[in-house]
Amino acid sequence: MDFTLTPEQQSFRDEVRDWLRKNLPRGWVERLREGSDVPRPEAYEFLRGWQRKMYDAGFVGLTWPKEYGGRGLTFMEELILAEEMALQKAPPVLNILAIGMAGPTIINYGTEEQKKRYPAKMLSCEEIWCQGYSEPNAGSDLASLQTRAVKDGEYYVINGQKVWTSLAHVADWMMLLARTDPDAPKHKGITYFLLDMKLPGITVKPLKQITGDPEFNEVYFDNVRVHESEILGGLNNGWAVGLATLMYERLALGFGLQVRLRIALDGLVELARNTKKNGASVSKDPVLRQKLAQLWIETEVFKYTGARAITKLLKGELPGPEASTGKMMWVEGHQHLQELAMEIEGPFSQLMRGSQWAMADGLWQHTFLRSRANSIEGGTTEIQKNIIGERVLGLPKG
């Protein structure tokens, strides 16, 4: 057991630290009204520029092969980068669905042509990706999806609808799951397409969330013609490819979520120190202090559970039970954190941005509301628990 860095890793850390110190945009949190996780729509252009800057400096796609635009490094460097970004409160990477999911899946399943075409532009944020999985009647039960893809010569004709599609309104490409064989058992008739969002017949309608933001969308397909060369991983093999994507998602989220949780926690501690209750700082209140300490502990625990999973990856082993708990744990931690922010603000938590009485410029109200989605997006907590129960603990299916 050893938590020290090798000289090479230390110099990588110094490189990241130094670069962030020089290039970090000041006051971005306040500018974007963003305390923790997903950026707000008005921040997209800023974040696109930020990712481009990070890419030019060589800090996006660390573990991807060099030939596809990455740096061919290990998860250790990815971890170091994540920690440094947390320490210096750096803005998030915008094209996260591409970097975390679509890219690794294409590198694993793609044809040589696909591997040359897509990954590099994901890293530079030239092309933003969204994920066309959920449908109005296929959420947790994803394999019930009904969007159809019917062969017509060299093309497939897509008809149907996707929903809850984050970033679709700014995305250039979509990871699309569509049914190519309606007669096969539901898991076996699905194909994974790489879909150009500029094709005729695609309509994107923003959905207003409980935050008031149109962050996710409905996407309608009306006779959209996709060339067969855009199939990823083979006809009717979409379920396996799609699941691989979700596995990468969990891995990628582990790094990113740790950063965001740490940044949010530091913000919360600031809020507690600056807020007075009965004449003293809230961080000195014995009850709230217990809750703050508990969040501090959970954030650290989350980091070390992640570190155990990464150790296995670095040794070339598959992550064990400790890896599957990450998403669930983050959700719980982050929702507690946002609830606690409201509790610290007390009656002032009712006031939104714009009021002179709003605390911390009304930053926390948005992130609090946004956090309700955490236990739904990327697989509900209930589905995560089914997965842990069945695949990790080996309990029988219901």
């Binding site: 508990q294 670095l314 039970p321 209930e382 995560q384």
Partner: protein, 377 residues
């Protein structure tokens, strides 16, 4: 970074598991917990033969010279088997107390004998006030002409009734941490009385130790007078991490038993593990168990390496694991239903161990406050 165990440590784990399955299965645990000693000389001798009584004792004192990370592996297995008896108090309290506080002569005299299984030493620290900080130590030690006279009551002293000597934290000076000294009081000293207390967790033997004008010479002081609290807090941080490891092992065993049961127990024509009400609870248990291990392993490494945040890591671990083991052992009983509430089933051994461990060396509330102080909240 390498956050895993090496081959020797994995070997220690498999050796320990096999040894304890053979030598200390639950039938043996139940026999031992019904005796006042909680241990037989034969089993104690075997623990010594394995080298486990001197696992973290330096080689200069006939120990194996291993670290807390190695000990964590063994403690997990000890917790998995709910081993009764004075292993913990001998190795992590009395033994570590002498190692941390003792003079060279004291270490030479006691540590090899402890490692060999010939002597047992425990630590008397808490008093009826149950205060955890230095202010809790009020037992008086008055000096006159090189002789110290100790008077007062110590509570929650593990295994004092079978110990050859007790390390007693006493007050030789003013209030505060600097006024505390550690004394090595031998069994049978005049004025020393030990009463075994009935405990909820029968595998843990706790005593009341009263000292009435117990006179000891200056050579009974461990190290220098006034240095007791510094040594004691180092001992307690390490013991806390080791206890967390023992708790992790117990929690893992409860999870294993529960999952096995949920796979075979049928209700409404199918295994109960197929119901989400059961499955989701089991998933929560897994999260608690895995996280407990992560923070405990990290704390052990931090203590071994002497990194500045070692004590913080120890407190984070105890806060997290105290809650986790309590929740996991309670959920284990719940998911077993009626059978889990019987004396016959082993679950209550774990449930009671969890409850006792929760309040040993400070509960989650105490350690959360300590975390708050250490991170300057």
């Amino acid at each position: 970074m390498n956050f895993g165990f090496n081959e020797e440590q994995e070997l220690l784990r498999s050796t320990a598991r096999k040894f304890l399955e053979n030598e200390c299965p639950s039938e043996v645990v139940r026999k031992l917990m019904d005796t006042p000693e909680g241990m037989t000389p034969a089993l104690w001798g075997k623990l010594a033969e394995q080298g486990w009584l001197g696992l973290i004792t330096p080689e200069a004192y006939d120990g194996m010279g291993l670290g807390l990370v190695d000990l964590v592996v063994l403690m997990e297995e000890m917790g998995r088997a709910v081993v009764p008896g004075p292993y913990f108090s001998t190795v992590l309290l009395g033994g570590l107390g002498i190692l941390e506080a003792g003079t060279e002569a004291q270490k030479k005299e006691w540590l090899p004998k402890i490692a060999a299984g010939e002597k047992r030493v425990t630590l008397a620290w808490m008093e009826p006030s149950a205060q955890l900080g230095p202010e809790g130590v009020t037992l008086a030690a008055a000096e006159k002409g090189g002789t110290f006279t100790l008077s007062g009551t110590k509570l929650f002293v593990p295994d004092a009734h079978t110990a050859d000597a007790v390390v007693v934290a006493a007050r030789t000076g003013k209030p505060g941490a600097e006024g505390i000294s550690l004394f090595l009081v031998p069994k049978g000293a005049k004025g020393l009385a030990v009463t075994l207390l009935p405990t909820m967790d029968q595998t843990r033997k706790l005593c009341e130790v009263t000292l009435k004008d117990v006179a000891v010479g200056g050579d009974a002081v461990l190290g220098a007078t006034g240095s007791g609290w510094k040594a004691l807090s180092r001992v307690l941080d390490r013991a806390t991490v080791a206890l967390c490891a023992e708790m992790c092992g117990g929690a893992q065993k409860v999870l294993d038993m529960t999952v096995e049961y949920a796979k075979i127990r049928q209700a409404f024509g199918r295994p109960i593990g197929s119901f989400q009400g059961v499955k989701h609870k089991a998933a929560d248990m897994l999260v608690d168990v895995e996280n407990s291990k992560s923070i405990t392993y990290y704390a052990a490494w931090a203590m071994d390496e002497g990194v500045a945040e070692g004590p913080l890591a120890a407190s984070m671990a105890k806060a997290y694991v105290s809650d986790a083991y309590r929740k996991v052992s309670a959920a284990g009983i719940q998911l077993h239903g009626g059978i889990g509430f019987t004396w016959e089933h082993d679950l209550h051994l774990y449930f009671k161990r969890a409850k006792g461990s929760e309040f040993t060396f400070g509960d989650a509330t105490y350690h959360r406050e300590r975390v708050a102080q250490l991170v300057n909240l």
